[in-house]
C-alpha cells in the first residue's frame, strides 16, 4: 500500500511537471520560494521599472505575504542608482543580506562589490522545470484536507473490523458543528473565553458520541444489522441538524474558535488520535477483542469476550471521532450547518477499504487506513492539478477503490 502511495507520488510528480518561467509573476514566486527555503528573515529585491519586472515584484510580495520576511525594494532601471540605493540600505540592514534580482537586474555585477554585501547570495530567476504537485506549497495542503476524514476513519476502521458499518458519520459531523456552534451562541452568548468554547466543543462531541452509543445499543440489543440502524441514524441526525438551524448556516464570527482548525493543529490532532488508536488496537485487551469479534463473534463470546459491551463502545467511539471531526470543521469554517459532511461516510469507507481493512471483519490495520486516506487525497489533489474535471475524478476514484480491493484479494491468494 505504501508502494501504491509512492507510485502515485511519482505519477503526479511527472504529470504535473511545468516549465517555471524566469520572467514575470512566476519568477517572483520562484524567488520567494527559494528565499523561504533558505530561511532568511530579510532580503533586498532589485527590480527594474519595466512592466515585466513589476510583475516579478508582485509575485514575490504576494508569495511572501504574512510569511515574516522583511523585503526591501530597490526599483530602478539605472545600475548606478541601484548601487547608490544599496549603499544607503547598508546602514539599516545587517551585512550580507540576500539579494534577489529579476532576469534583467540579474545581469548587473556590482552587488558584491558593495562592502556591506560582499558575501551576499544573489538570487536570479532561472527557467526550470518544476512539478507543481511536489511544490512545498501544494504538499502542505495535502494533510490539511485529509485530517477530518482521517479522524472519522479511525472509528470506521474499528467498526469495519468488527464486521459492522457506520453510515451515520457524515450526518454526525453536521450535528456536531451545529450543536457546538449553537451552544456557544445561545447558551454562552457568543462568549470568547476558551473555557466556554471548550465546553461548546465538548457538547458537539457528546451529541455525536451519544448518537453512536444509540447505534451500538440498538444493533446489539435488538440484533438489527448495523447497516440499517446507522442508515436510520444518518437520516434522523441530518434532519435534526437541519431543523435546529432552520436550514441556515450558524455563523459564529469569533476568531477565537478558529484556533483548532488552523494549520497545523488538525494534523497534530489527527496524528495524536492515530497514535492512541494504534496503541488501543494492537496493545490492549479492548483492541484484541475488537479483532476477535470481527473474526468470529461466537468464538469470541464463548471465549468470554463481552461482545455487546465492546460493540457498543466501538460505535460510541465512531460517534465521538465524527464529533471531533465536526468541531475541527466548525472551527475551520467558523460556522455550523446541517449541510456539512454530506456523503462523507462514503469517502471514509472508501479510505478504510483502500487501506486494506476487510469488510468481512476481523482484519485490518489502523495505519493502513491512514495510508488509505492519504492515497485518496493524493489522487484528488493530483487530478485537480492536472485540471481533470470533477466528473472524471469520480470515475477514477471508483476505479481506484476497485483496484485496491482486487490487489488485496490477489495478494491474499
Amino acid at each position: 500500500m505504501v508502494l501504491v502511495l509512492a507510485l502515485l507520488f511519482a505519477i503526479f510528480s511527472l504529470t504535473t511537471l511545468k516549465e517555471q518561467t524566469a520572467e514575470g509573476y512566476g519568477a517572483g514566486q520562484q524567488l520567494a520560494e527559494k528565499a523561504l527555503s533558505s530561511g532568511v528573515a530579510k532580503l533586498v529585491l532589485v527590480v527594474g521599472t519595466s512592466s515585466d519586472d513589476q510583475l516579478v515584484k508582485e509575485g514575490l510580495e504576494e508569495s511572501l505575504k504574512g510569511r515574516g520576511v522583511e523585503v526591501h525594494i530597490i526599483e530602478t532601471s539605472e545600475p548606478p542608482q541601484a548601487k547608490k540605493a544599496l549603499k544607503e540600505l547598508a546602514t539599516t540592514i545587517p551585512a550580507n543580506t540576500l539579494i534577489a534580482c529579476s532576469k534583467k537586474t540579474g545581469n548587473w555585477t556590482f552587488y558584491n562589490s558593495v562592502d556591506h554585501f560582499k558575501d551576499s547570495e544573489v538570487l536570479i530567476p532561472k527557467s526550470e522545470t518544476v512539478s507543481t504537485f511536489l511544490k512545498a506549497s501544494n504538499l502542505k495542503t495535502l494533510p490539511d484536507k485529509t485530517a477530518k476524514t482521517a479522524i472519522i476513519a479511525i472509528g470506521m476502521t474499528m467498526i469495519i473490523i468488527t464486521a459492522g458499518i457506520d453510515l451515520s458519520v457524515g450526518s454526525l459531523v453536521a450535528l456536531a458543528t451545529v450543536v457546538s456552534t449553537m451552544t456557544l451562541q445561545i447558551v454562552f452568548g457568543n462568549s470568547s473565553s476558551p473555557a466556554m468554547i471548550g465546553l461548546s466543543f465538548l457538547a458537539g462531541i457528546s451529541a455525536a458520541g451519544f448518537c453512536g452509543f444509540i447505534n451500538g445499543t440498538l444493533s446489539t440489543f435488538f440484533r438489527i444489522p448495523p447497516f440499517i440502524v446507522t442508515l436510520a441514524m444518518m437520516l434522523i441526525t441530518r434532519g435534526v441538524a437541519l431543523n435546529l438551524t432552520g436550514n441556515r448556516t450558524i455563523k459564529v464570527g469569533l476568531p477565537d474558535i478558529s484556533w483548532l482548525g488552523q494549520m497545523p493543529n488538525p494534523i497534530i490532532l489527527m496524528l495524536l488520535l492515530y497514535g492512541i488508536a494504534y496503541f488501543v488496537m494492537h496493545k490492549t485487551i479492548f483492541g484484541r477483542q475488537i479483532y476477535a469479534i470481527g473474526g468470529n463473534e461466537e468464538a469470541a463470546r464463548l471465549s468470554g469476550v463481552p461482545v455487546k459491551r465492546v460493540l457498543i463502545s466501538v460505535y460510541t467511539i465512531s460517534g465521538i471521532v465524527a464529533g471531533i471531526a465536526g468541531i475541527v470543521m466548525a472551527s475551520e469554517l467558523n460556522s455550523g450547518s446541517g449541510e456539512f459532511g454530506q456523503t462523507w461516510e462514503l469517502n471514509v469507507i472508501a479510505a478504510v477499504v483502500v487501506g486494506g481493512t476487510s469488510l468481512m471483519g476481523g482484519q485490518g490495520k489502523i495505519i493502513g487506513t491512514l495510508i488509505g486516506c492519504a492515497i485518496i487525497e493524493v489522487i484528488n489533489n493530483g487530478m485537480n492539478l492536472m485540471a481533470i474535471s470533477s466528473n472524471t475524478q469520480q470515475i477514477v476514484l471508483g476505479c481506484v477503490i476497485l483496484a485496491a480491493i482486487i490487489v488485496d484479494k490477489i495478494k491474499k491468494k
Binding site: 490492549t284 485487551i285 477483542q289 476477535a292 468470529n296 461466537e298 468464538a299 464463548l302 468470554g304 476481523g362
Partner: protein
C-alpha cells in the same frame, strides 16, 4: 475383488505437484463395480486431493485414469458429472433456502425452453427417494431438514444423474450411530445396483462394517490395499500412522476425588430436568443421538444459552452463570464440537486465539504484555507438542489435531477446574486422536473434572470413568460399570 466384477476405475501412477508441494506421489487405485472401497489415511495423506482429481477440481500432474478401460481426462466438474462420477463432499453443498427438489436439480434442471418442469422434477425426485427407501418431501426447504436428512439429499442429488461411481467424503462425521446404519443401508442398495463407492471415514468401526477393501495412503504415498477380512483394526491403524500403536485408548490412572460440579434439575427448551455430578479426576462421558440435548446441556452449563430453571453447584457452592464470561471466571472451560465455527477465530494467529480468554492474566490496566503472552503460550506448545512453525501461524492453517490442542491450551491457561469437551476428536486423524486422549487423561490425573461429549461409542467406552446417556433432552441412563458395557447397551439406552 472377485473376477466376476467389472473394473470400473483404474488410476495408475498418479502424481500431483502443487507449487512447492508434492501432494500425491504415485498412487495406484482400482475400483470395481458394486464394491465399497474405503480410502484411509490421516489428514494430509492426500485423500482429498485424490478425490478432487476425480471431481475435476484438480488435474493429475502425471499418471493415467481409466474409466471402464477407457482413458479419460477430467478437466472440470462438469466433465466429471457427465462421466457418471458423483461426489459428496464433507461440507454440504445445499442451499438452505431452496427446496429439496430445487437443490437436487440445481446442476441440471429438467426444463423446456428455459422453463423448469416442476412436476417432472418432483416425480423424478420421489422416484429417487423411493429407490433408496427414504421418505423426504421434495418440496420442503433444505434448512428445515436434519443433518442426516441433508446427507440423504446430497446422496440423492448425486444419484439424480446416471452415476456409476460415488465418492463419499466423511459422510458419517455428523451422523449418529442410528443414522449411520440408515446410510449403510443405502450404500448396500447402491452396491446391489452395481455402483462403485469410494468411502472415506476416520471411524474404523464403520470401515469394517461397510467396506470390501481398504486402500491406505500416508503422506501422499500409496501404502497398500487389502481385503477387509484380511486386515485387523490394529494393522490398519499402523498402516495409516506408519508405526506400531500399542493401544487405541490410553489407560489412565484413576483417582476420583470429591464432587466438583453438581448440576441439579436443569431445564431449558432443549433440556428436561437434568441432574448429574462430576468429580475431580474423573472423565464423565456423555453420549446419545444427535439432538438428544448433549451439546445444548453443555452450552447451558457454560452460560452460552439461557436456562429456564435449575441450579449448578461448584465445589459445593451454588453459582450463577449468565454468560460464558461468568463461567470462565468460575473456572469452567468449554471446547465446542464445532471447533472451526465456535472454538477458533480461524483468520487470526494461534497466539491471538490462545490469548483471547486469558488476556487479563497477562495485562495491566487493559494493556497486553505481549512478551508474557508469547512465553506462556510457548509453554503449552512445548508441553502439548503442538506442531506449528511459529506462534503467528494462522489457526486456519493447522490440522484438526493441532487446532484442538490450541483450543485446549486456551482453557488450560485459565486453570479451569471443569473442562467440557464436546466431540474431542471430530475430524481429527488417528495419530492425533491418541495424543488428544493422552492430554485428556493427563488433565484428569491433575485432578480436573472432565466432561467428554462424544457420538463415537468406542471412544466413550474407552475413555470414560462413567457414562451418561441422553435421550430427547433427558438422562436415560448413567452407566457406572464402564468395563463391562458394550456399544449395544449404550445404543439401547440412547434409542429406547
Amino acid at each position: 475383488m472377485s473376477d466376476s466384477q467389472e473394473l470400473l476405475l483404474q488410476m495408475r501412477g498418479i502424481h500431483k505437484r502443487f507449487p512447492g508441494v508434492h501432494a500425491i506421489k504415485g498412487i495406484d487405485m482400482d475400483l470395481f463395480g458394486g464394491e465399497v472401497l474405503a480410502l484411509m489415511g490421516e489428514n494430509g495423506a492426500g485423500k482429498s486431493t485424490l478425490i478432487k482429481m476425480l471431481g475435476g477440481a484438480h488435474q493429475p500432474t502425471e499418471g493415467t485414469i481409466e474409466l471402464k478401460g477407457k482413458e479419460i481426462t477430467i478437466e472440470n466438474p462438469q466433465v466429471s458429472q457427465d462421466l457418471g462420477i458423483g461426489i459428496i463432499y464433507q461440507e454440504f453443498n445445499l442451499i438452505p433456502h431452496l427446496t429439496v427438489r430445487e437443490n437436487i436439480f440445481l446442476g441440471n434442471p429438467k426444463s423446456k425452453n428455459g422453463v423448469i418442469r416442476k412436476n417432472e422434477e418432483h416425480r423424478h425426485a420421489q422416484e429417487l427417494f423411493q429407490k433408496i427407501g427414504i421418505e423426504i418431501d421434495p418440496e420442503v426447504l433444505c434448512c428445515k431438514l436434519s443433518t442426516a436428512e441433508q446427507q440423504i439429499v446430497e446422496i440423492v442429488k448425486a444419484l439424480s444423474s446416471e452415476v456409476r461411481l460415488l465418492v463419499m467424503d466423511e459422510p458419517s462425521a455428523t451422523l449418529t450411530p442410528q443414522e449411520v446404519e440408515g446410510l449403510f443401508k443405502i450404500i448396500r442398495d447402491l452396491k446391489q445396483q452395481g455402483i462403485g463407492v469410494i468411502y472415506i471415514s476416520h471411524r474404523l468401526d464403520e470401515i469394517f462394517d461397510i467396506a470390501d477393501r481398504v486402500t491406505v495412503l500416508r503422506d501422499g504415498e500409496y501404502i497398500g490395499t487389502k481385503g477387509i477380512e484380511k486386515i485387523s483394526r490394529q494393522e490398519m491403524i499402523e498402516m495409516m500412522v506408519g508405526r506400531k500403536v500399542e493401544n487405541e485408548f490410553p489407560k489412565h490412572y484413576q483417582k476420583i476425588g470429591s464432587p466438583v460440579l453438581e448440576v441439579s434439575h436443569l431445564i431449558s427448551d432443549d433440556v428436561e430436568d437434568v441432574s448429574f455430578t462430576v468429580h475431580a479426576g474423573e472423565v464423565l462421558g456423555f453420549t446419545g443421538l444427535v439432538g438428544a440435548g448433549r451439546t445444548e446441556l453443555m452450552r447451558l452449563i457454560f452460560g452460552a444459552d439461557k436456562k429456564t430453571s435449575g441450579s449448578v453447584q461448584l465445589h459445593g457452592e451454588e453459582i450463577h452463570i449468565n454468560s460464558p464470561r461468568d463461567a470462565i471466571a468460575k473456572g469452567i472451560g468449554l471446547l465446542t464440537e464445532d471447533r472451526k465455527g465456535q472454538g477458533l477465530v480461524l483468520m487470526h494467529s494461534v497466539r491471538e486465539n490462545f490469548g483471547l480468554p486469558n488476556l487479563r492474566l497477562f495485562s495491566k490496566n487493559g494493556v497486553i504484555n505481549g512478551a508474557e503472552e508469547k512465553k506462556r503460550f510457548a509453554r503449552h506448545i512445548e508441553s502439548m507438542k503442538i506442531k506449528i512453525p511459529h506462534q503467528e501461524q494462522l489457526a486456519k492453517n493447522l490440522s484438526g489435531g493441532n487446532q484442538q490442542k490450541v483450543v485446549l491450551a486456551k482453557w488450560l491457561e485459565q486453570n479451569c477446574d471443569v473442562i467440557i469437551i464436546d466431540e474431542p476428536t471430530r475430524g481429527i486423524d488417528v495419530g492425533a486422536k491418541y495424543e488428544i486422549y493422552m492430554l485428556i487423561n493427563q488433565l484428569a490425573e491433575q485432578g480436573k473434572a472432565i466432561i467428554m461429549v462424544s457420538s463415537e461409542l468406542p471412544e466413550v467406552i474407552g475413555m470414560s470413568d462413567r457414562i451418561v446417556v441422553m435421550r430427547s433432552g433427558k438422562i436415560s441412563a448413567i452407566v457406572e460399570d464402564v468395563q463391562n458395557t458394550t456399544q449395544e447397551i449404550l445404543l439401547d439406552h440412547a434409542i429406547h
